[in-house]
């Protein structure tokens, strides 16, 4: 079963506007959530994270929101830039799945920011 889901395979946004990427999870024991960005032929790079004791974390143009009751998190990018075009993965860990810090990933959302 897919414990972390990104239901939008792709998203297209105009440069300067807001990009909102969404992620849902099913395991209520998850206590740490992350977003990674991946360019083709490169490994994922860590972008931003949030602990389950918070509902928002901000780092420059990137903000992650966590809604524990809805088991939903989102990544906001404001303003979007063409260099943000990449695949974005959300990931989670915690509870019985912790096992040395392994992460469970969503399927990814490909963001395209058009000039």
């Amino acid at each position: 079963d897919q414990q972390v889901k990104q239901n939008s395979p792709s998203l297209s946004v105009q440069e300067g506007r807001i990009s909102i990427l969404n992620c849902d999870y099913t395991n209520s024991m998850f206590d740490y959530f992350l977003w990674y960005k991946k360019y083709p032929a490169e490994g994922p790079t860590f972008l931003i994270s949030i602990s389950s004791i918070k509902d928002k974390n901000e780092d420059g143009r990137f903000t992650v929101f966590l809604n524990k009751s809805a088991k939903h998190l989102s990544l906001h990018i404001v303003p979007s830039q063409p260099g943000d075009s990449a695949v974005y993965f959300c990931a989670a860990r915690g509870g019985a799945t912790y096992q040395g810090g392994k992460l469970i990933f969503g399927q990814g959302t490909e963001l395209s920011v058009k000039p």
Partner: protein
């Protein structure tokens, strides 16, 4: 900065070959992981290791094995490569602390023909 180095960026192998993918990290991290990435499926965990000579199966270990003889090196082995193992393979490490991210290498794109 954490450096995770995967020995090959691109590999092409034939069906039935034994394939070795190597990963080296320079940060003395305890835990290392092998994932594969496929379109529409995200990243799926193959194997991970807590320490030297320790290994644990991930979600999709079939057809793979691993070796960790030294702390800094974690190898993924495809015993007999098959076409359905064509994928992007990603090695990652973590210092086992609360709220630490995984650090990934640049990946190995493996094609099995």
């Amino acid at each position: 900065d954490v450096k995770v180095t995967q020995s090959s960026r691109y590999l092409v192998k034939r069906t039935g070959e034994k394939v070795f993918l190597e990963c080296v990290q320079d940060m003395d991290h305890e835990n290392m992981f092998w994932y594969r990435q496929d379109p529409g499926l995200g990243l799926r965990l193959i194997y991970f290791s807590y320490d030297v000579k320790m290994k644990e199966k991930g979600d999709i270990p079939e057809g793979y094995s691993v070796s960790r003889e030294k702390k800094e090196r974690f190898s993924l082995i495809l015993e007999s490569a098959s076409t359905n193992q064509t994928s992007m393979y990603l090695c990652a490490t973590i210092r086992d602390r609360i709220n630490s991210p995984l650090h990934f290498g640049n990946g190995t794109r493996l094609t099995v023909t």
